[in-house]
Point group: C2
Chain length 384, copies 2
């Protein structure tokens, strides 16, 4: 767990200090998602989404422009991804769930989902090829279990599908100097030469559709704000290579169950409910979660608790309590001391378990269907 | 043309100053090819080779060890390559001809021939993907026309065959830090991130056979001495990845026709006979070649000329005058002033043209057979 008084550092590979999202918007040069943009989105989707309403997705680049194009009949594609350095937990899935909504509501938009196993191999000193390959497979099951439709979804595994990507990657790489990479990503001289090359690989899916089908196509990237350095370099090279700059819609970090301050570390076993956890284990983790409660029940009844720093409340907010009235009510009960943390967790646990149960069933089914989602299908479409 | 008083710089991408081969052996830490090693090689090959006899190939790493293994029945593979940044000229082919002899004499050894089109794309600012692809094809024709047997020869085109290479490349890349790459290759901060990654790609064919067939196999790399930095990093990572360190046998630089001091620049059109030159053009280039002659015929008859700095004499030495007696005789005539440069060139020209004629016929035939040599055939052998 990081110390809040540390200087804020946010890169794709490191997050330190207390996160100031306003400062990130300013420093990264992104735009806040405002009321006007929300209205535009909802006009097309026909419904609101809690992750937008409750500002989990809070920042963007060029979404308004993509909507202009969309309304002119110029469809976009969606690109998101995951680095398979470990198992998937509920926190990882939150932006995927949003991505699925986005895909569905924008009439079956095509999704490129990148599993960056080369990245994780390069950035995790002790991760072997065998292990990262196993994790890639396991993570792919979770992606599929999220419910994406196979006909519009292409899961790219970098190592296995490099043949689909290398020609674009070498062109991106040629346009990024070490100086630029160092200043954008903070690379040290001890970084391995794979890690230094890697930003070229992460740029590829933003251009892949345009490259394969020979038609400049807008691309939206839903992702956590810490990936923004990648999109800065990607956007910087895009027009030089004849592509549109990718747009992005960016979410805040999801808290772990042991820490509501902003980051979810997958290295702390107890801090997250994994998609493969047994109900017993998942419930144990929920019941042990960090909250904004007081030291004693008496004190809490008297003074109330603080939902702003509570990991359980975050999970209600972003996933398990879509009903605004119910959430408002819970917040009031919490602040007033009307409800204690144990009781509150007893409400979360069954919702979490229901989610898990459904997900695990879908995950089992995914094992038979993994090829239906493979980016290998794109090989037939590539015009040489 | 470089100035001889400049400091000597030899990297895979830059050669400057007067080349001191003894100093290179010392600085790079390679071994001189000595009489004992020559005898061992000839014992197996059953015949001498002028490129060894006349010290064009002068330096090596671990060839004695590879011969030990060979005599124990542990066969090796050969790996060489070319960066397709332009047309192929006769100078480029000299080490290929040696490689073919080596392949033939060591009973049909397998050869991996890498065409590093990604490298050239990254290192030549103005080279486009389309152009480098065209050059790769044209260069492959020259490789094939050298006479390698298809059943033992696999031409790797980096961009097209990256799927065969990436899994090894990412493992190599993980073991090389930017610090190391910078100190070995002299990379500046302005180098693009593709160029920085590239040494990992050039390492791959040294390990490819072992990786595909799951059996540690020695590898010999015949190449110019300026590639040695690559083999230093390749050798450095080899054992960490479970492979043998590749051996190498290294040649001196071949002079251009305008410069016998050590480098052949393909950027000066007149300085080299290209494999696609017409007989007329080739002859013109030979007749215009730089020699060690005097300013006037009278002076030369009196004082003699200097074959040591003569590009024509170099071509006799390494390619067109395999007969020792004939070469000795020519040298005497040259030093004594008995033969003038024009007459001497008249002997070279028909030999060069005969070589070209045969090569161009083979090059035409190669167009129909390019797939027979493609490394794409390896896809069937890869054990996943």
């Amino acid at each position: 767990m990081s110390k809040d008084n540390e200087e804020m550092v946010v890169t794709p590979w490191e997050t330190r200090g207390k996160i100031d999202y306003d400062r990130l918007i300013q420093e990264f040069g992104t735009s806040r998602i405002d009321e006007k943009l929300l209205k535009r989105i909802y006009k097309i989707t026909g419904e609101k989404h809690i992750m937008l309403e409750r500002e989990l997705f809070f920042s963007h680049r060029d979404i308004d422009w993509v909507l202009d194009e969309y309304e002119k009949g110029n469809k976009f594609v969606i690109y998101t991804g995951r680095g398979p350095s470990g198992g998937v937990h509920i926190g990882h899935m939150v932006p995927w769930i949003f991505t699925k909504w986005w895909q569905d509501k924008f009439d079956g938009t095509r999704l490129y989902f990148q599993l960056t196993n080369d990245e994780k191999f390069w950035f995790e000193p002790d991760l072997s090829i065998e292990k990262v390959r196993e994790l890639t497979y396991e993570n792919a099951l979770d992606v599929i279990a999220t419910g994406f439709e196979p006909e519009n979804t292409y899961i790219i595994q970098d190592i296995e599908h490099i043949d689909l990507m290398y020609e674009i990657a070498i062109q991106v790489a040629k346009k990024i100097t070490f100086s630029t990479a160092r200043s954008v990503f903070g690379f040290e001289n001890s970084m391995n030469i794979g890690g230094i090359f890697y930003p070229a690989i992460q740029a590829v899916p933003a251009f892949l559709h345009s490259w394969i089908y020979g038609k400049k196509t807008p691309c939206i990237i839903p992702c956590a704000i810490d990936q923004d350095p990648h999109w800065r370099t990607t956007r910087d090279v895009a027009e030089k290579l004849g592509y549109y700059k990718p747009a992005s819609i960016q979410n805040k970090f999801l808290p772990g169950l042991q820490d509501a301050s902003g980051k979810m570390s997958s290295s702390q076993e107890m801090s997250a409910v994994y998609t493969t956890d047994t109900p017993k284990k998942a419930k144990k983790k929920v019941m042990a979660a960090f909250t904004g409660g007081r030291d004693t029940a008496d004190e809490q009844r008297k003074l109330g608790a603080n939902p702003d720093i509570c990991s359980v409340f975050k999970y209600y907010t972003f996933l398990f309590m879509p009903d605004d009235k119910e959430l408002d009510n819970l917040e009031k009960q919490c602040r007033s001391g009307e409800i204690l943390c144990g009781e509150c967790k007893q409400i979360l646990a069954p919702r979490m378990l229901e989610f898990l149960e459904k997900h695990q069933a879908a995950r089992e089914e995914a094992k038979e269907r993994i090829h239906e989602y493979s980016a290998a299908r794109l090989r037939d479409d590539i015009r040489r």
